[in-house]
Symmetry: C2
Subunit: 360 residues, 2 copies
DNA sequence: TTGAAAGCGCTAACAT
DNA sequence: ATGTTAGCGCTTTCAA
């Protein structure tokens, strides 16, 4: 492997001139420049990125702290990231390593967290006394951070409100919510959950009836609630979370919906994969969508292409969100001022899974 | 950021001793060792991975040269990779940058290519006069490499044979093949294609009837054939391939199948996403699977959970394949001898999409 | 068992 | 416009 020293010798100049010529920085004689470039070509020179990094204290890499690429939303976030990253000569590396202490030993200039939960956890551990450029995708949830972290935010509180209003406008009064998580959690609160609760001002019994929760904590005695999280057992005995199967969660939710004879006319699902699973199971149980039950979701990712009916859903914009994550993170890395929150718009997409009850 | 020098000063020793203590290498006084570790802890020391890399000429990173994470198969390959990578303290970074010349300027010790086509292209360009640890996932295809590259191979020639034999055993005689590519290509030949051709000894007219090709090159006058490849236009005018929508290709293939009134009783699809799209479109055209037409695919990835009927398919093992890719690549990196080809087994999975014609 | 010292390949300030 | 020099943080050899 040729180094700049080799080029310098071949071209009869010093390494500094070579560096300047190769980097297009500072003065360098036009003629010598040619000679240097030619020498570099002949030697098949490629710069050593490690050496550059050590000297400049920049790696040109950022980390997307993501575990679950089976989740289409994460894939689209990631695609947005690499797009802006490459415009800035950056690479996005992926890792869902749960061990935060290793973040500092990775060759990255900053980290993007995929949601508020991970960010919170990070800040409460390794991130507590270690300043490192960090941004987070967020969804308007009620999570408090130990330290200010720029949010690239898509407000699903408002999103849920809009979706519920849409359903209401079409005559739906009893609207269930199929959710993978408990309505109260130690970590904080998902904005969709608060949105749904606030919209109805629900409490007590009503909640039991329309909040279809498939969390294993909500159903400690139901063995079916255990099989949605793919995990891996490490050599050291630790368990690593791998992926969350929302499709199956949706199926299970629909099963519960039927078993409990829920009288909701519409069901809002946590995301589209859940909605798709929900629809599938309904159909297997003899109910048609939207003829018998209306279903709506969130996200609008490419996974919807598998849906039998075009889904009605709240379309987020993960690609844009991913782009913004990188943009803001690079600002942080480069010491520029950044906003606390960058809002990402959403919009409701009308599909074929919601029935208009007024047109009867 | 504390360095080993800081620790050395605090502990009253030299940096070499600190290094030995921290790396568990070489001699170091047991007592001093404690003092050093304690000092490191107090200073919140984390080693600088860049400096380590520069000195050891190892980055601890390998590149998975993958563009398309919307393809479930790639995601499962990748998951296998990170699993063995982390056991060896390696990271897998992802990039689908088409510009091979940049590979050498990435901070990686080696590269994994996802298929023979990319490998071939790489070897004909940047890889020609540049030795770099490289392995490739492969599928038994007729691709010739300019240089020997270890293959982690799943032999889809045999796989196709097995699947066709399976269909034949169930009474199918006319078996179509839905394929995204031309039966002849400048790059080489996909093993599934050769397998299908060889099985029937097909030529000329028969091929036209049963080889359902949705390539834009096969259908230059059909505008529908143009919309399956997601591309991105870069600032510099280059086009970058992003993703291939096999599901839509499958739908289109089924559409052609119907339009051409193909009399095949069974259709083998290039992969499961195509098969899923094929089934969907058949149904929309009023044909039931497997009552009217039998359908089989390849891969058996998690995307099959979206399928309405459990698919009959040839299950590969992308996770194992990904694991082996990393294993072999690390062998190459570490100068160990490796096999030219590592075979990955497959097996036929009976689902509900193939009808047994003998049971009539 | 320890420590000094010479790199690894490149950058960037500074003197020329 | 060019070259010298001192790092960047760590590894590793070798002499003590």
């Amino acid at each position: 492997m040729a180094t700049r020293k080799d080029i310098a010798e071949k071209a009869g100049v010093s390494v500094s001139v070579v560096s300047r010529a190769l980097n297009n920085s500072g003065y360098v004689d036009a003629h010598k420049r040619e000679i240097i470039l030619e020498a570099a070509r002949e030697l098949g020179y490629r710069q050593n990125p490690i050496a550059v990094s050590l000297a400049t204290k920049r790696t040109g890499q950022i980390l997307f702290f993501c575990k679950d690429l089976k989740n289409a939303f994460n894939v689209e976030l990631y695609e947005g990231m690499i797009e802006t990253a490459r415009k800035n000569n950056y690479m996005v590396v992926l890792s869902g390593e749960i061990d935060f202490s290793r973040i500092r030993t990775l060759m990255v200039d900053g980290v993007i967290f995929p949601n508020e939960v991970h960010t919170q956890e990070y800040l409460n551990n390794e991130g507590k006394n270690f300043l490192f450029p960090v941004v987070t995708a967020s969804y308007g949830g009620g999570y408090s951070f130990a330290r200010a972290v720029p949010r690239i935010n898509c407000d699903l509180y408002k999103g849920m409100m809009e979706e519920l209003r849409y359903l209401q406008n079409r005559g739906h009064r009893k609207i269930a919510f199929a959710c993978p998580y408990l309505p109260k959690s130690a970590f904080g609160l998902d904005a969709r959950i608060s949105g749904w609760l606030d919209f109805f001002g629900t409490a007590g019994k009503e909640l039991d009836r329309y909040y279809i929760c498939v969390s294993r904590y909500a159903l400690p005695d139901d063995p079916r609630a255990l099989r949605f999280n793919e995990e891996q057992l490490l050599e050291d005995g630790r368990k690593v979370f791998l992926a969350e199967d929302f499709f199956s969660k949706g199926r299970f939710a629909a099963q519960l919906f039927c078993e409990r004879k829920c009288d909701a006319t519409a069901v809002v699902c946590f995301n589209d994969e859940m909605a798709q699973g929900f629809c599938r199971q309904l159909r297997e149980n003899g109910l048609e969508v939207p003829e018998d039950v209306s279903v709506a979701g969130f996200d609008d990712t490419y996974a919807n292409r598998y849906a039998v009916r075009r889904p009605t859903t709240l379309a987020l914009n993960p690609k844009l969100q991913g782009q913004k994550c990188v943009e803001v993170l690079l600002d942080v890395i480069n010491g520029r001022r950044v906003k606390n929150t960058t809002e990402i718009p959403f919009r409701l997409v009308e599909g074929e899974t919601v029935k208009d009850l007024r047109k009867q």
